[in-house]
């Protein structure tokens, strides 16, 4: 077969396609379980980070800790529990695609809630963790807010982003900023939704940093606006659930 003839080119291309395609398919099959584990670990770590300090814990330890302490439930916008997903299978809280859900209108979304309790003791609830999602300056931002058993006081928060400016908007994922949310309240005394709002600029006077406000980030106003909107929206979506659950046991929803 002449090297530059059409037959040769076709045969060569066919063999190349098969070999390369085969390599890719094989790699995908081999690596898939590990990849899914990595993604799962990442999500679960972020959930736990909102409420507790995971220092030193590694891979499997984090997954075990998650299993011992988190019960996931899924609710709709009215606070009613959802048992089965669209395909008829039981819906799992940590598998809910929050980002994908964000594209649907709020009434159609499903909302996961992660109930954090003492290891091994499902009734000793310590916190309710809800995921939040929104738009930062350059891309999406998201995170988890952990509420105390009164479903009003923030126990902790962890935020993340895809492309905020390092040193500016990207600070939302730093311990410094996240810790500012501890102890803040979502509703006021009369039950009105106030959310937790980040002020513009940093080093604001103490008088402005009350239980519904946190100090801002200098130079990152736009990201903080995105953060505020995200929190406001999601507290609103979850408010039916939060009001219901604060009155009775979550299991009775």
């Amino acid at each position: 077969m002449q090297q530059q003839s059409n037959t040769y080119i076709i045969v060569f291309s066919a063999i190349t396609t098969i070999v390369l395609g085969g390599m890719l398919a094989m790699a995908n099959q081999l690596l898939k379980p590990r990849q899914q584990k990595s993604i799962e670990l990442d999500t679960k770590r972020q959930i736990l980070n909102a409420v507790t300090d995971l220092k030193g814990k590694k891979g499997k330890e984090i997954l075990d800790f998650y299993n011992q302490t988190i019960d996931g439930i899924v609710i709709d916008i009215n606070g009613k529990k959802i048992e089965d997903g669209d395909n008829g299978e039981p819906i799992k809280a940590d598998k809910v695609n929050v980002a994908g859900n964000y594209k649907k209108p709020p009434e159609e979304r499903v909302y996961p809630v992660f109930v954090y309790h003492k290891p091994g003791d499902a009734d000793a609830v310590e916190s309710y963790i809800i995921p939040v999602y929104g738009n930062g300056l350059w891309g999406n931002i998201w995170g988890f807010v952990a509420l105390d058993t009164d479903l009003n006081t923030v126990k902790g928060a962890s935020f993340d982003h895809e492309s905020e400016t390092p040193g500016l908007g990207a600070r939302i994922s730093s311990e410094e900023i996240e810790s500012r949310f501890k102890g803040k309240k979502v509703f006021d005394e009369s039950g009105q939704l106030k959310s937790v709002v980040m002020l513009k600029g940093e080093r604001n006077p103490e008088s402005m940093i009350d239980e519904h406000h946190v100090d801002g980030m200098s130079g990152a106003t736009l990201t903080s606006v995105g953060l505020n909107n995200m929190l406001q929206n999601y507290f609103k979506y979850y408010s039916a659930f939060l009001k219901k659950a604060s009155k009775k046991n979550v299991a009775a929803l």
Binding site: Q4, I9, T16, M23, R34, Q35, S163, G167
Partner: protein, 218 residues
């Protein structure tokens, strides 16, 4: 640069003088970024910090070494008319493999590097070396050439990242070194952290390197 190697002594050592040049030239005199003006695209975006730059440099070296090896080994079999497509296919496959491995074992880095790992496919250095060298040279020489150019690329982006991370956030590899030495409140330069900082650092770095080597463009 694309010379079919001449008939030479079959017992040329693995690291003969000629071969050492393949490894060493691209580090400075023939540096892919500062001299050949290739590979700038994806190089700059990840240089905000050293850790992603290191991951990127290693990924690029891996892709280059294996693609150079593959194309060089097959160089007598590839039909000329489809050679660009074949090169692209090989590069794309290797990059996909690297990306999948990162996704499995270094998920954090994978998230941070996002689309830039995929963009190694369009990194002019990779394709450039295939065309200019691997197609006309033996496998071991091609591997050395890939290593040389990969390392040339690597040390430049690590240098840019070094300045950007230190001046932009006072850290190196994530460690707050100024704090560690006791200098708190180091005035970090916010501009370093933006793309603009990368352009400036790279421009100045090129100035220094070219003045030292005496290379003048055009």
């Amino acid at each position: 640069m694309s010379t079919e190697t001449l008939e030479r002594n079959k017992h040329e050592s693995l690291f003969s003088k000629r071969r050492k040049k393949f490894l060493v030239d691209p580090l400075n005199d023939q540096n892919p970024i500062t001299v050949q003006v290739l590979g700038i695209c994806s190089a700059l975006a990840v240089t905000t910090q050293m850790k992603p730059s290191l991951t990127m440099a290693i990924s690029v070296i891996v892709v280059m070494v294996f693609s150079n090896l593959a194309i060089s080994a097959l160089r007598k079999l590839i039909p000329t008319r489809v050679r660009i497509i074949v090169q692209l296919a090989v590069i794309a496959t290797l990059v996909t493999l690297v990306s999948e491995v990162l996704k499995a074992y270094q998920y954090d880095m994978y998230k941070q590097l996002s689309v830039f790992v995929g963009l190694i496919i369009t990194n002019c250095i990779v394709m450039g070396r295939l065309e200019a060298f691997a197609l006309g040279n033996k496998p071991w020489d091609s591997i050395l050439d890939a290593l040389g150019n990969g390392m040339g690329y690597g040390w430049i982006i690590l240098s840019v990242a070094f300045f950007r991370e230190i001046l932009g956030s006072g850290k190196l590899f994530g460690y707050a070194i100024f704090d560690a030495v006791g200098i708190h409140n180091f005035p970090t330069n916010g501009l370093m952290v933006t793309p603009v900082g990368a352009f400036f650092v790279l421009g100045l770095l090129i100035w220094v390197l070219r003045t030292r080597s005496g290379y003048v463009e055009r």
